[in-house]
Symmetry: C2
Subunit: 437 residues, 2 copies
């Protein structure tokens, strides 16, 4: 085949494909999240990436429909999952009789959205989800446990300076209902959302076109709520809103804030933030967003909330739930891009054996003994000069190189070189084991 007949290999735009050192770091983060989820007793499920399009799109519409990868194969109308929540709804309905509720599951997997590719926005990306699904009802204390799992997970990922923002949609909804403004709430929220950009006065001016003076007064009072979590609660109470939904939301928030500390979350990592509302209509109570304080511009790195009914499109059975999701691909991109993490020195192997003898058996034996003892060992038997082999060892970032030439074989020793310090010593395999384990 001549070069002209070759097909140019390429990876599609919008699809993350990492170099090995980056992949090692990515996998470490993925494993850390998995460990954290399992530590809190969540069990894994792994649903197919391809589903029946009608099942997957039962509740979708608008943007989702446009973005979805949908195609036919034979007579089947198929689609790739665009999140892990719809497959969960399918799963708990399909296997209801075989599951125990509350059903606590995690799923870490790729999802697909045919968005316009942008820097850090992928068409194939990892979501790392946990959800707790109740059968008929689900205790509000679960909403206090979830932030502790966010906290533990980000701590394990190496972060300290982050804030878990918490709110309850019922507060907003009940507040607007009490002002008889439920119909206009979407418009009002849209104005309020601009507060960081245009300032409080301009928001007030715009709102004055929408609502009467009394309501405007109340909304501005609501927007000026400030202080620490307890102070905000006090101010919410002093608004004296006569609405059941509002009071429910407020009581839920108070309960969650009360117990969140018992779950091990320090006060400085939790913030009652009345401005977060979470775009998805989907959430009906508690909502969470998580920010790295020094990198607030990255947006929320872990979001979620409480929903009344996960499975309404599949069954009349009521299944409330609460959950969160970490968009790992995007998070990883942002952390690398902002130099918050670096994959430069990532490696799988601790040691590489560089064979400089034709007695491959001795080298193989050393590799075998180290591996039996749990040391990650790579071998290099290629017919290359030592310099080239050291270059290779450098490139793959191993800590140690074991050089085995004819002398080492004859004396039943190995040469162990510390790749950082350059220090090299001739020792026997037992001594090496002690050093490397």
């Amino acid at each position: 085949m001549s070069e002209s007949n070759k097909i140019k290999p390429r990876t599609l735009p919008g699809f993350m494909e990492l170099l090995p050192n980056e992949q090692i770091l990515f996998n470490k983060m993925k494993d850390t999240i998995k460990e954290s989820y399992e530590e809190s007793g969540f069990i894994p499920i792994n649903t197919p990436i391809i589903e029946d399009a009608n099942v997957l799109l039962a509740k979708a519409g608008g943007e989702t429909e446009k973005q979805i990868y949908r195609f036919t194969k034979g007579e089947n109308d198929l689609a790739l999952r665009f999140d892990l929540t719809v497959p969960l709804a399918k799963y708990v309905t399909e296997y209801y009789d075989k599951l125990s509720f509350p059903f606590r599951r995690y799923q870490i997997g790729k999802v697909y959205r045919g968005e316009k590719p942008q820097r850090g926005r992928y068409r194939e990306f990892y979501q790392c989800d946990i959800d707790i699904i109740g059968d008929g009802k689900l205790s509000i204390i679960n909403d206090a446990e979830i932030p502790s799992i966010i906290y533990n997970t980000f701590k394990k990922l190496g972060f300290d300076d982050f804030t878990i923002c918490i709110n309850n949609r019922k507060i907003f909804n009940g507040f607007f209902k009490s002002l008889d403004l439920s119909d206009k709430s979407q418009d009002i929220l849209r104005v309020i959302d601009k507060i960081d950009k245009i300032g409080k006065d301009k928001v007030k001016e715009e709102l004055s076109k929408e609502v009467d003076n009394n309501s405007l007064e109340m909304i501005m009072k609501f927007l000026s709520i400030d202080g620490n979590n307890q102070e905000k609660i006090n101010q919410l109470e002093s608004l004296d809103v006569k609405d059941e939904i509002f009071q429910e939301g407020l009581n839920d928030l108070k309960l969650i804030l009360k117990y969140i500390g018992d779950f091990g979350v320090p006060e400085q990592n939790i913030k009652l933030d009345l401005t977060i509302a979470r775009g998805l209509d989907y959430y009906t109570g508690t909502v969470y967003e998580t920010f790295l304080n020094k990198y607030r511009n990255m947006g929320s790195v872990c979001s979620g909330g409480r929903y009344d009914n996960l499975t309404e499109y599949y069954t009349n059975r009521k299944m409330p739930g609460v959950g969160i999701s970490i968009g790992l691909s995007r998070l990883f991109f942002q952390l690398i891009d902002n130099n918050i993490i670096s994959a430069d020195n990532e490696s799988i192997s601790k040691v590489i054996i560089l064979s400089m003898t034709d007695d491959y058996g001795y080298c193989a034996n050393v590799a075998s003994i180290l591996r039996e003892n749990g040391v990650k060992v790579q071998v290099n038997f290629e017919d290359q000069k030592l310099g080239k082999k050291f270059k290779y060892a450098d490139n793959i970032k191993v800590e140690y190189a074991i050089i085995i030439g004819d002398d080492e074989v004859q004396n039943n020793k190995i040469s162990l070189k510390n790749m950082k310090t350059g220090e090299q010593q001739i020792i026997n395999i037992e001594e090496a084991l002690k050093l490397l384990k």
Copy 2:
């Protein structure tokens, strides 16, 4: 929404979807394979599931073309990967300048083939691959290391009684070339492959229609080669085949058998098996198949081999390699189906905390302390009777339940129940930690 408007949730036929306890076991196996691959210094890559159809199908044809999931989105002609080898070829060509060779990678991921669904045959299934790719050339010693990785992996998976069968395609090819039968080799192999079914005499009879007497004599002599590995080598040598390819294959085999033991593989787990040829034309030298001796009917559980040129459809650069693949989804199905493994008692959590008090804070605190100490803990705060909570604990197969009622809160204690023995004791949290860690 009334029941009649509901969409019936279903998982597509041919797509494996496991219950949580099965999923836990499946994941354990997947993690074991990953650990084993990493122990031998293989590094992870994770290529997209969706690729440019033309890139993916560069070398495909026939069955592959028919089975592939191919579709368009916008202007893009897309396809789902059907194995992990073609994406590897793409990857090493695309990132050649940034990789170090020999490039040792593993990839564990789902692949897609729209086959007719059958028991234990899936349309979406996991492959667990390792490959060592050389730049221009690759030492034959790598072919001796690969069986040691198969051996270590299946040992770690809990198997002892398995055989790694090894052969070299050059032996067959050279043998037929020396008889001037290269053109007919496919037909002859097809007859030979029936030997287990129809017997040696019938094979001889059928072959007599294809080849002359001298060749028939040689082929039957070849087929009668028997004994232990060394005896087979001796008989191959005594055939005195005057063909370079044959001698190359024989020398490679001798070398591999010589060093395989140094890599820690016991003699009884390795068998030179001249009957395995591996369907894929693709392999050009060493080939491997692995059988669980008591379940030979399951077919090979880990196969692979050496190939001359991985990337020929993408570049003129020559990239020889050697690798293996474990078809984990199928293997898992077979192991469960044959009662070789059971997922009945699989669980993530070691302990469940059953709250029988309204003082949720105390329960949350106990959970938090245990989790900090690495104990996997689930909580149950639901408003349920103790009996129902114990049933739940039974279902999720935890080892211990911690019951916390008002008495325990008051005395700063917990009730710890061993779910197997039924033994229950009231102790403090420090004592519990010692027991549970």
